[in-house]
């Protein structure tokens, strides 16, 4: 069942616990979003597409970690890469577009909502959500994973596996949010900075994919590695183009031509 079982007699239990834990966490998150919607029902209507994005995002994360794809990823590099696209890029994008922080703030009483937004304004959050830091955490994590023996250790230890996947998801989320987040961000970076960082990230991602094509990770067959690398390249491209479009959509909205009357309305409202 698992390629690494022979080396780790007690391994199976750990992997099973990991899957059950992930499933429980995902279910709790799914219930949490639904509860937040219910608790904030007296407020303005919540756009249906955000709810759809949230559950689609959770489904992508679930597909990559538990079930058949999660199992196959232990043996096949291609399946592993499919899982990473889902967990590190597609799920974060869908979840960012579902505005989970806004949903939570709507649901909480004022005091607790203030505590949450204070936490989000803390120096720590401010630093990790800076586009440059977020991109370094995201792309840097991938470089470390594929160019060091970490990839090999990940298949041997459930703890390393859990740590790597937690990092991939969180780094993916924070990076996507810093680029095209719809939740309120008191320290949103300028358009130019975000654009520059996104270009650098896309370059790093595609260079790593081509590098992987030539230098397969330890213990991965050449054909498998080459197919996985191309999946990383083209799959990453598809999501990256979406990120570019979303980035420019923000610019397009922010720079719309305004008539004098709408400018007056803006002045009185703010």
């Amino acid at each position: 069942m698992h390629a690494h079982d022979s080396a780790h007699a007690t391994g199976l239990d750990g992997w099973l616990v990991f899957e059950v834990f992930v499933a429980a966490l995902l279910i709790a998150t799914a219930v949490g979003y639904a509860w937040s919607l219910w608790a904030g029902r007296h407020r303005s209507a919540w756009p249906v597409h955000r709810t759809v994005f949230f559950y689609a995002g959770l489904a992508c994360a679930a597909a990559s970690l538990v079930g058949p794809l999660g199992q196959a990823a232990h043996e096949s590099f291609t399946a592993h890469m499919m899982g990473h696209l889902l967990l590190g890029m597609i799920a974060p994008l869908l979840l960012v577009l579902s505005a989970p922080v806004s949903v939570l703030l709507r649901a909480l009483p004022v005091g607790r909502a203030r505590a949450v937004s204070r936490m989000l304004r803390s120096p720590y959050v401010r630093v990790i959500t800076h586009p440059v830091v977020a991109a370094l955490l995201n792309a840097g994590g991938l470089w470390v994973l594929y160019t060091t023996p970490l990839f090999h250790w990940m298949h041997g230890s459930v703890w390393v596996h859990a740590l790597v996947h937690t990092h991939i998801f969180l780094a993916g989320y924070v990076f996507t949010a810093s680029m095209v987040g719809v939740d309120s961000d008191p320290h949103r970076a300028s358009f130019k900075l975000r654009a520059g960082v996104l270009i650098a990230f896309i370059a790093a991602h595609s260079i790593l994919a081509k590098w992987l094509y030539a230098h397969q990770p330890m213990g991965v067959e050449t054909a498998d590695a080459q197919f996985g690398a191309q999946l990383m390249y083209y799959g990453g491209d598809a999501v990256d183009v979406l990120l570019i479009v979303l980035l420019f959509t923000g610019w397009y909205r922010a720079t719309r031509p305004r008539s004098a009357s709408s400018d007056r309305a803006r002045a009185t409202s703010s």
Partner: protein
């Protein structure tokens, strides 16, 4: 919803303070050329290479494994810019449209100039100087290089002529 708004307002304010709107409206002609040029370079870099040479003719390989690290780096940066400027060009075009219409002929001329310029750069810098990849493998390259660079120059000249022709029309408007 209420938590989403302040951010949007923030961005709008930044755009406003930068005086983007007034500057944009003064030079629709220049922005049309910029939009077309970016889009032309972008599709030459990302789409033409991908859809015609990789998937269609299958002359190009994903990676021919012969490349030096510096060339791999350059290739990645070219690749990232390719998609970025394609989308940028199209959003600029949409912006020019909503601000009072596009001179399509002028835009098309700029696209031709963009495709030609990128192809020339690709043919000389990437194929010949850096040697990232070749047009086709296992053939005599002279003919291919001549056609590649020649067609690039033809496209550039065509685009430039169209831009010259539409320039007077733009000034008269």
């Amino acid at each position: 919803m209420s938590t989403v708004e302040p951010n949007a307002r923030n961005e709008a304010r930044t755009g406003h303070r930068g005086g983007v709107e007034t500057r944009d409206e003064r030079h629709p002609g220049k922005r049309t050329v910029l939009s077309g040029f970016l889009f032309g370079c972008g599709i030459a870099a990302s789409m033409i290479d991908l859809f015609i040479f990789h998937l269609g003719l299958q002359w190009h390989h994903f990676y021919d494994l012969s490349t030096h690290e510096v060339a791999l780096l350059t290739d990645g940066i070219f690749h990232a810019f390719g998609w970025f400027i394609t989308v940028w060009g199209l959003f600029l075009l949409a912006d020019i449209r909503r601000r009072g219409g596009v001179n399509w002929k002028r835009w098309a001329g700029a696209v031709a100039l963009g495709i030609g310029s990128f192809q020339l750069l690709d043919g000389v810098l990437n194929h010949k100087i850096l040697g990232i990849h070749q047009i086709r493998y296992g053939v005599d390259l002279l003919l291919y290089d001549t056609v590649w660079i020649g067609s690039a120059i033809v496209l550039m000249v065509t685009g430039w002529v169209v831009l010259r022709m539409t320039r007077s029309a733009h000034d008269a408007r």
